[in-house]
Symmetry: none
Subunit: 167 residues, 4 copies
Amino acid sequence: MSMIAASAGISHGLLYHYFKSKDELFTELVRLAMEGASGGIDEMFDHPGTVIDKLRHFLQDAMNEEARLFFLLIHQARASEGVPEEVRMIIGNYSIDWFVEQLKPLFLEGQRTGEIASDDAGQLIAGLLTVMSGTMILHASDEENIPLLNPDHLLRLVLAPAHIQPL
Amino acid sequence: MSMIAASAGISHGLLYHYFKSKDELFTELVRLAMEGASGGIDEMFDHPGTVIDKLRHFLQDAMNEEARLFFLLIHQARASEGVPEEVRMIIGNYSIDWFVEQLKPLFLEGQRTGEIASDDAGQLIAGLLTVMSGTMILHASDEENIPLLNPDHLLRLVLAPAHIQPL
Amino acid sequence: MSMIAASAGISHGLLYHYFKSKDELFTELVRLAMEGASGGIDEMFDHPGTVIDKLRHFLQDAMNEEARLFFLLIHQARASEGVPEEVRMIIGNYSIDWFVEQLKPLFLEGQRTGEIASDDAGQLIAGLLTVMSGTMILHASDEENIPLLNPDHLLRLVLAPAHIQPL
Amino acid sequence: MSMIAASAGISHGLLYHYFKSKDELFTELVRLAMEGASGGIDEMFDHPGTVIDKLRHFLQDAMNEEARLFFLLIHQARASEGVPEEVRMIIGNYSIDWFVEQLKPLFLEGQRTGEIASDDAGQLIAGLLTVMSGTMILHASDEENIPLLNPDHLLRLVLAPAHIQPL
DNA sequence: GATGAATGAGTCTTCATTCAT
DNA sequence: GATGAATGAAGACTCATTCAT
């Protein structure tokens, strides 16, 4: 907490004025990260163009430098022991399954248009999300040695072979 | 250290009998994990069959439940501050670039046989490795909610479109 | 550290608020002790009277109850292994030789006036300092059984025979 | 205990075969040191020559390199807290007062012959012993910087002025 | 006699948290 | 709002001691 306060240029005493405890601060950050993530999905649906255009936009939006630390945060929240109950609830609400449900309509449409591979949509989505998160976490922990993947590369996991383009 | 010792059913005192410090224990684990990883590559080359067969074997070997914690360990070693100097050296020796160099001959052959996509081999390998590691780390941190990916799914990142099969 | 904190009536946590480590606290004490010692020499030169008067004042000043623990501290610093580098430097700066040099002018004058024995001044000073320190350390460790020596008794080590008085 | 055993070239297990505990080993060493000290006094009385000859022999015997660690040991025993009860008893038996009593006959004879200063014999002896011990302890803890005093120098504390010789 | 695996009390140190000012 | 002195639980590490072999 003292280090966080110092980073923010305030005393740790004042940090406790804004957040009752480290758990509360952590919970707040997780909440923000999750809202950002679901906001990204809404934005994707508003994006013009084909299914592939929307997906590419979603990936580009999620896989930028700013989003890095959010992924790391969620990872910590998922991976650590002794995480506050409230954080576990937030994470539960935004489970992989929840994201799968959000994206399923898009993928089903993509399969109708022939853009998306004709495998089980849920499996494709879960795979894409897992791989995207994993990539971001790796990059976030060691940016020097682990480059961000080209979103088009990741798309190969879900595209119909006919739509795969050179990198 | 006391928790580790308790997990092993010994006193922390005895743990210090075998490892001079937490750093030394950690270093030893990282060393083991890294040797396991490079061993997996050797084994892949000995595996019979096509390039795809070899790669599938490599992924299945790496992405099993036992290997889970090794990925998590390496991730910790890469991501954390205050990691012992020796660990940083070991990790430096087995960089992403090193793995890329090991796998490049196989990928070049795969491109000759038409099994592997005709993009830059280095980029394909780095992408596959990143995604594989990221997936394992996510799964290792939260096995209940994040299923292991089907290795064939990951292979889509590097296969020539003609060789992509339904999942 | 906990015992020291308890002696001071504070928690060990607060002690660490003021001193980053046991080494730093120890270093600070050694520094203070050494400054006190060299201050005693300055004061001696300002003291009025003959060479013997000055020396007697110096000994009385150094050999009081308060100074006791300082001698013990310096002794620990000299005698112990694993003493912080900075402490070794401070002690090196205030070596026996350094004190000898400080006192030499006074002793040479004393030899001119006939108050000080006509042996090698450096040897006389080193002997007096050693004996004074040793006495203080013994007294500090076991005040009940080892009485403080009368400074006049110590002076016999350096006085010309003609100036020796009954105790 | 492990370090002591290693110095002796045996395992710490075997050290416990010979000494039931660290306290017992320490007690044994203190006992030996004290017997050596009182043996030195007996030997002094057997030494031929004048009172000064005997005293000089005593000092030379006590202030050699071998005796160094014995003085340090006794000092530790006197100075430390938590010293075993038996050690405290041994030290109590060989108190300063006990040594004073042992040496008093010699000093009284020396005062008759005019060799020893005509101050209170007890005070002279206590002073000489204190100074001798202190010197040895200092030298033992830091032999490089603190030279052993010339025994003749120490004798000045107790000699009649007429018998003081150049160093 | 001899070894070293095994234990646990005690020590230094960190850090989240509280609270008087 | 803002500060930092103050606390204590918890973790890394050491070392005297025991005991099976």
